[in-house]
């Protein structure tokens, strides 16, 4: 049995683009000194010269055909697969000679351990009584109560700060005031208010003398009203929680996340926020830097097949750990999560999964997308505005719309119209997800007629305009991704 590998598949395994480049660099410089495979074709292994005296021993194990291959390496990198393991795979794809050799002992040992673990898991599946009953999480109610009280206290401090800012006026904000805001940002962490912390950090960024605050006043005012709403709703929610003897989480609205709560999948399961058998097709993908969260965000837009739900996958990669977390990538197959966890949310709730089966996209899948789109802009916009009016809702809702034709105004503004002739202007939204309208003027007209478009919306306060940015166009040829 020979290992089947393609360049694209290996690209997909890489944690990020730099790793691909580095791995290819190793091949170019002939750093791989030994290339072997086992006779049964389940393991690639070899040695790669590093900067030290001795070589790194690395391997890629394909023993579990239904899972991603396991890569192992003696190098100190925390990325998996590391560049050496990737180089090994690229070398294999490139057709370099891998001599047959017996499996190294340490890998055989590791395989045995995995096998035992699998056996145990299989046994549990066959006989669920074997499963160790997970300890029921006992919640220390007193501690929780204290935490809620601390949160309330934190909200008071936050309110005091923002109100004083407004009383003095944004024009008086200088470096000293920014420093004070920054100190409060730190404090919010002590009060278990990471959500508020992020929003306050955003405000500091908007008003910072470095970032031309005059240009940001509109956004700063918006940010202040948002914080006001957060304080009001947060306070009401926390007070209600204190009165609840169970101190239960609110799994219906996004308020918990606004206050800084991170849902665990098991909790979502408890609240029945979980779907079996869902199939998702990715419509768009991007990755961007969010200085407010101090994280990189990998953002995917997905349609749950057979429904009109546009879901979002959000992977947060904190700056400090970004190197060690695999950056997600464009997904071109159908994802079949087992199961799909759905976070509390608005039009486009966040989803996650722990394990995934995939299948290829069929013509039918693509065709089914059209049916899930709104044919009338008016109807779609109503939905969007309904979400936007809630200050704590996602300010960039996404929707599928059926578009009959694209236009350009004399000022160069791009416009689309529905079959009833209603128009929507297209502009890149302020979220830095990348520009996507550049390609449209180059495309043949016929690819832009009677198509389905995935759009994200934003209300611009200063102009009163509701703008939309197209992310992908679905036409007869398939999904044309304008972003990634």
């Amino acid at each position: 049995m020979a290992i089947q590998l393609t360049e694209g598949y290996v690209d997909g395994l890489a944690p990020n683009a730099a790793a691909i480049k580095n791995a290819k660099g190793l091949i170019q410089k002939n750093k791989l000194v030994q290339l072997h495979q086992t006779e049964d074709g389940t393991l690639l292994f070899g040695e790669c010269a590093g900067s030290g005296k001795s070589n790194y021993a690395c391997s890629v194990d394909f023993i579990q055909p239904d899972k991603e291959p396991t890569s192992r390496c003696s190098c100190p990198s925390r990325q998996f697969p590391c560049k050496h393991a990737l180089a090994l795979m690229y070398a294999y794809v490139a057709g370099q000679t891998f001599t047959t050799a017996t499996i190294p002992e340490d890998i055989a040992d590791k395989r045995n351990k995995i096998e035992k673990r699998e056996e145990k898991a299989a046994a549990i599946e066959a006989d669920p009584t074997l499963k160790a009953v997970p300890k029921k999480k006992t919640v220390n109610k007193n501690a929780l109560k204290k935490k809620v009280q601390a949160q309330l206290e934190g909200l008071d401090i936050l309110e005091k700060l923002t109100l004083s800012l407004i009383r003095n006026g944004l024009s008086t904000v200088d470096a000293t005031v920014i420093k004070r805001i920054q100190e409060h940002v730190k404090q919010m962490g002590n009060y278990y208010l990471t959500g508020a912390q992020v929003e306050l950090r955003r405000l500091a960024g908007l008003l910072s003398p470095k970032n031309n605050p005059e240009a940001n006043y509109t956004y700063a005012v918006e940010q202040l009203t948002l914080i006001h709403a957060l304080i009001r709703k947060g306070r009401a929610h926390l007070q209600a929680k204190l009165e609840d003897p169970e101190l239960a989480l609110d799994a219906e609205s996004t308020i918990e996340e606004w206050l800084g709560y991170a849902w665990q999948l098991s909790e979502l399961e408890q609240h029945q926020r979980m779907t079996e058998g869902a199939e998702l097709i990715q419509l768009a993908f991007t990755s961007y830097d969010d200085p407010g969260r101090m994280e990189f965000i990998d953002l995917g837009y997905w349609l749950e097949l057979g429904t009109h739900h546009i879901r979002r996958t959000l992977q947060y990669r904190p700056y400090k750990a970004a190197k060690h977390i695999r950056e997600e990538d464009t997904f071109t197959e159908i994802a079949c999560p087992k199961p799909l966890y759905v976070y509390p949310g608005d039009l486009n709730p966040r989803v996650r999964w722990e394990s995934l089966a995939t299948r290829a996209v069929t013509e039918q899948d693509v065709q089914s997308i059209h049916a899930q789109a709104y044919t009338s802009f008016a109807e779609g916009l109503k939905l969007i505005k309904n979400q936007l009016k809630n200050p704590l809702a996602d300010p960039y809702p996404a929707l599928l719309l059926q578009v009959s034709q694209f236009y350009q105004s004399e000022e160069g503004q791009l416009v689309m119209k529905d079959s009833e002739g209603q128009s929507i202007g297209l502009t890149d939204i302020s979220l830095p997800i990348g520009t996507s309208t550049g390609l449209l003027p180059y495309l043949p007209q016929e690819t832009l007629q009677d198509v389905t478009v995935l759009l994200v919306f934003e209300h611009q306060m200063d102009t009163g305009q509701l703008i939309a940015q197209p992310l992908s166009i679905i036409n007869g040829n398939g999904i044309m991704r304008l972003l990634y």
Binding site: A49, L165, I166, H228, Q408, T435, P441, L443, H459, L466
Partner: protein, 633 residues
């Protein structure tokens, strides 16, 4: 709903956020807005709520703070405004996209985020390392993805000119005919240098696909902006039908238009074109004509006639000697022209030019003195130009001439020497420059003769010893080192008289001896060995040259070389080397494995001496050698 009124209120609250909410109580504009909200409030409850909120903000006796009241108002207002967003776009609209045509873009959006994002970043930011990313992506075909096309066109304007150039010549043209209509749409004929890149990209595509755009170019040449005209005119080269117009454009006021017109004319072989160029060559536009001829293949007829014009100028200069009073201004101008001309003749052999240069050298003294007396260096430069032209195409007669000139001026010795090497036998060369005992004696006492001999030796050095970078692998990394090499033995035996070697030893010039070393000359082996003893330092290149000469020329055994190297290494003076030359590393690698321990003892960590013998790269290289030798055990 009255969106304008709501927007007005929003602007007002925004102002208060900036100025400070304390001022709200006295805000007249806000006060003026209140009755309108109250009026509308009678019909619509939302306006009533807004009106109440405004009233709260204006109420100084209210028990909550001014900022909180302002926040409450704005939060409500913002919510209402978000339901009022206007998405429509008014005005004239025309359908977007390219109309159907023969070659239209087939949108390909199949590359993944991971492949595209680095390229997008490289094309939309500034900073180092971008060119590499872009070149690599082009090589991998990632630019086929249509999403990069707008960025590639943007890239024509990239502030980093190498990227802009790559976009113009390769990446944008690679989109082929499909992108052409778009480029033409966005191309502004009245634009500046940036538009030149677009036009150049269009031209590159047209050339690749044998598309005739002459009409477009000629129209642009007539009516576009200056930069565009100058570019378009160049694209008309080789098309005789435009010669009359091109001649017209050589009269243009703008000099880059004229330069382009000359360029296009120089590519023509028609009599009119040649006549025009010749006529213009008499005037100040000579420099453009020289450039036009230098950078393309031109007809023999044009070259011949320009050579005649050149010859005339030379003759005029020489003739001035006969005149009673010399017009120095005119001569200066002449010198300028001749210098321009001389740029033209660097490549092509031409009999007329050759003769003119000979004439100049024949009148060396007169022309040289023109510089000396008038303190202009032009004539000396011209004489050097003449010598180097002749040096490459010389005959015996030329050699005589160069000998003559170099007798007067030692700076011409290198030219004469190089020519003599080309056309004389090795014995003749030696006799000419060193000769017998008498001339050698003379060289010792005569200052000029000594200077000339010095020039000869300086000229020989680069002919015998090649300088250059050599790369070699240390297993895990590639290193580059500057190194010196000597020529193969056969070449030396064929081209150089063996008396040169004896001469070099007498001169005590170790580099020359190494460069000329050959078997069969008494004392070479001993000379080199002695020199290695005197100069054992591996940090100098001399040691390498000596070892190379001994091995490659005199054929000493590996064992012998190893002995010599150990002698040199163990010498106390041979310390503080920072990097070994590749030759030395290769030689180390030929050492027997029993030397490993001895080599290990040289590593910095194994030495107690204060000055490390081999440090930095040298230590690393040595480790590599030891590692490799161990592997051979």
């Amino acid at each position: 709903m009255s969106t304008a009124l709501l927007q007005e209120l929003y602007q007002e609250t925004r102002r208060l956020y900036i100025a400070g909410s304390e001022l709200a109580v006295e805000d007249i504009r806000l006060r003026k807005l209140l009755p309108r909200f109250q009026q509308l409030g009678e019909k619509a409850p939302i306006f009533k709520r807004l009106g109440d909120s405004i009233q709260n903000v204006l109420d100084e006796t209210h028990d909550s703070s001014s900022s909180e009241r302002l926040q409450n108002l704005t939060l409500l207002l913002s919510s209402v405004l978000h339901t009022q967003g206007n998405a429509t776009v008014a005005g004239d609209l025309k359908p977007l996209g390219m109309e159907q045509q023969e070659h239209s873009i087939v949108p390909i959006t199949s590359y993944s985020y991971r492949k595209l994002a680095p390229v997008v970043q490289a094309l939309s930011t500034t900073g180092g390392g971008r060119l590499e990313v872009i070149e690599q992506a082009f090589k991998e075909g990632i630019f086929q993805d249509s999403r990069l096309m707008p960025l590639a066109i943007e890239g024509l304007y990239d502030p980093y000119s190498e990227i802009a150039e790559l976009m113009t010549r390769k990446i944008v043209p690679a989109y082929g005919l499909a992108i052409l209509p778009y480029l033409r749409d966005i191309f502004d004929p009245q634009g500046d240098k940036k538009e030149v890149r677009k036009l150049t990209a269009i031209h590159t595509i047209a050339e690749e696909h044998q598309l005739d755009l002459l009409d477009v170019y000629s129209e642009l040449a007539r009516s576009a902006s200056e930069d565009i005209r100058a570019t378009a005119i160049r694209f008309l080269v080789g098309h005789e039908e435009y010669v009359p117009e091109l001649i017209q454009w050589t009269k243009d006021k703008k000099k880059n238009v004229r330069a382009s017109a000359y360029y296009a004319l120089a590519g023509s072989s028609s009599n009119q074109a040649i006549a025009c160029l010749l006529e213009a060559s008499n005037g100040k536009d000579l420099e453009y004509i020289v450039d036009a001829v230098r950078y393309q293949e031109v007809s023999q007829a044009l070259e011949d006639q320009l050579a005649v014009a050149f010859a005339k100028d030379v003759e005029q200069a020489i003739q001035s000697e006969q005149q009673e009073s010399i017009d120095h201004k005119a001569l200066e101008k002449l010198a300028e022209r001749l210098l321009l001309f001389s740029k033209m003749w660097t490549h092509s052999p031409n009999e007329t030019v050759h003769q003119s240069y000979q004439d100049m050298l024949k009148h060396y003294t007169y022309l040289y003195n023109l510089s000396a007396t008038n303190q202009i260096t032009d004539w000396r430069n011209l004489l050097w130009d003449a010598a180097s032209y002749i040096e490459y195409r010389g005959s015996l007669e030329d050699l005589e001439l160069l000998y003559e000139v170099s007798e007067k001026d030692a700076n011409f010795v290198p030219s004469a020497f190089r020519l003599s090497i080309q056309i004389l036998s090795p014995e003749q060369v030696y006799d000419q420059y060193v000769g017998g005992v008498v001339s050698q004696m003379k060289a010792k006492i005569n200052k000029d003769a000594k200077a000339r001999l010095g020039k000869v030796i300086a000229t020989m050095r680069p002919m015998l010893i090649e300088n250059g970078y050599e790369s070699f692998s240390l297993g895990h990394e590639e290193q580059h080192a500057y190194t010196q090499k000597i020529l193969p033995l056969a070449e030396i035996e064929q081209k150089w008289d063996k008396r040169w070697l004896e001469f070099a030893m007498k001169q005590d010039d170790v580099e020359l001896v190494a460069g000329l070393a050959r078997p069969g000359v008494k004392g070479v082996d001993e000379f080199l060995r002695q020199k290695l003893k005197d100069n054992p330092e591996f940090r100098n290149r001399t040691a390498t040259l000596i070892l190379r000469a001994l091995e490659e020329r005199l054929g000493i055994s590996k064992e012998d070389k190893r002995e010599l190297m150990w002698q040199a290494i163990d010498d106390r003076r041979n310390s503080n080397s920072y990097m070994f030359e590749p030759y030395i590393i290769h030689s180390f690698l030929e050492f027997p494995v029993e030397d490993i321990e001895r080599l290990e003892a040289l590593l910095p960590e194994n030495r107690e001496a204060t000055i490390p013998k081999f440090r930095g790269y040298a230590a690393e290289q040595l480790e590599f050698v030891i590692h490799t030798l161990k592997g051979m055990k």
